[in-house]
Symmetry: D2
Subunit: 141 residues, 4 copies
């Protein structure tokens, strides 16, 4: 069985089930219940003034939490976001946005956690998001 | 003064302050406190299985609410999302995702409202988002 | 089987599973996927200035959504709130706070909907809440 | 000027502006940007099965965040909750629910932070809430 706690395996799996992620992110840290993921922004992520757009921040937060869900439950492409609440607090600079995602509860049906988005080498908190993911029931026969 | 309740003016202003929007959306309806906006998806919005990704749904909801905020307060590129809570309920099909955005309260500092994302010609509710936007204080001299 | 779409049956069931509700609310309307519920405030719900406290508004919204969940799925005391996002927009007056709750999606595991809190005879929107409830799996043998 | 970082002063101020708090809470820790607050539950907070109701958990989280807002900005009875998103994860036991509140951003207009609700002597995370408070503009003459 593929170990998704290996960064290369995780990236290969993501490229398969979520092709948009290709080349857009870099996994900095990867554990069973937390992960740090960096956005590799391109033109389509930037807003005038040298900052990153809100939807691109949401994208990074969602991908980072998806990664930690996969690290926690294993290959489960059908895990889906059911709820996200995100507070945008400051504008990030355009070059180093990192998401620190962690799981707060891994239930049978729902996985709950949060994500801190940081900029300026981790010194500036720019957004905070709470996520709930639903995982398909794993029937045992 | 440019009337942002005119769809062409709105699109021109968006292209200036939020270039990513170019060619990605179509404004179907535009009023002072509500708007309907359709996503024109490309490859980067799709997920395997013929559906639209969560971040692309967030993008559409956020842009639709930004449009109705601009329609309400006028040219204000500095209006920013401060909070969004979104519930994802069903998977949209890949071709006709429409956001119906409305303002529930237009305060001096904060504008609050919600967005329904619908697919299948409006017959299927796929997501519901609540937004708060902060508008810069408009000092009167 | 008891029909929970009957207001008296609903109140009797609530008194059993959620005793705090006793005497605190009045069900104005009750359908399978929507309900209107009025708060009967006492001293403990009021704030200085003649308004209703935030936690009392949350209480009313949560009870109203619980009622419509029960109306939808039947006697299910174990249905629990998993997420609520609430925007407080205006201060209600102290005498007529009404919650209009509706279901947006009734899934097998999760029920999603929203609640509008209104005051001044329904003319003033004071808060808007989104709820997700989890319902225990109903195994079929 | 009264120092609200003193627990007794804080309790006296709360009794004045939010009388419902009387006897319901105990401030365990109080700093300029964080606080720990314990619920002193009575009958009206309990649900059948020996747990604390959702609205009582919301009450504790909201009061704890209000306390840390007051500790941060000073006597400001008009600070109000504008948004709360709360995830309920586990059922607390009925005797020791504690809220750990912290500020993530103290802006001029909006204060953002989160609250962890814990039970079982702090070992069990039962809920996580994000709060935004609005503080009245402090005009400088």
């Amino acid at each position: 069985m593929t170990n998704l706690l290996n960064k290369k395996n995780m990236v290969l799996f993501l490229e398969e089930v979520f092709p948009q992620v290709n080349g857009k992110i870099q996994i900095l840290k990867l554990f069973k219940d937390s992960a740090s993921v960096k956005l590799m922004p391109n033109e389509s992520d930037l807003r005038p003034g040298g900052t990153i757009s809100g939807p691109s921040m949401f994208f990074l937060a969602d991908v980072a939490f998806y990664i930690v869900v996969l690290a926690s439950v294993g290959k489960e492409p059908l895990a889906v976001t059911t709820n996200c609440s995100i507070n945008f607090m400051r504008k990030p600079n355009s070059i180093d946005l990192v998401a620190d995602a962690r799981i707060l509860k891994a239930g049978r049906k729902l996985i709950v956690g949060d994500v801190m988005l940081k900029s300026d080498n981790g010194s500036m908190l720019v957004a905070h998001a709470s996520f709930t993911y639903s995982v398909p029931s794993r029937l045992k026969v």
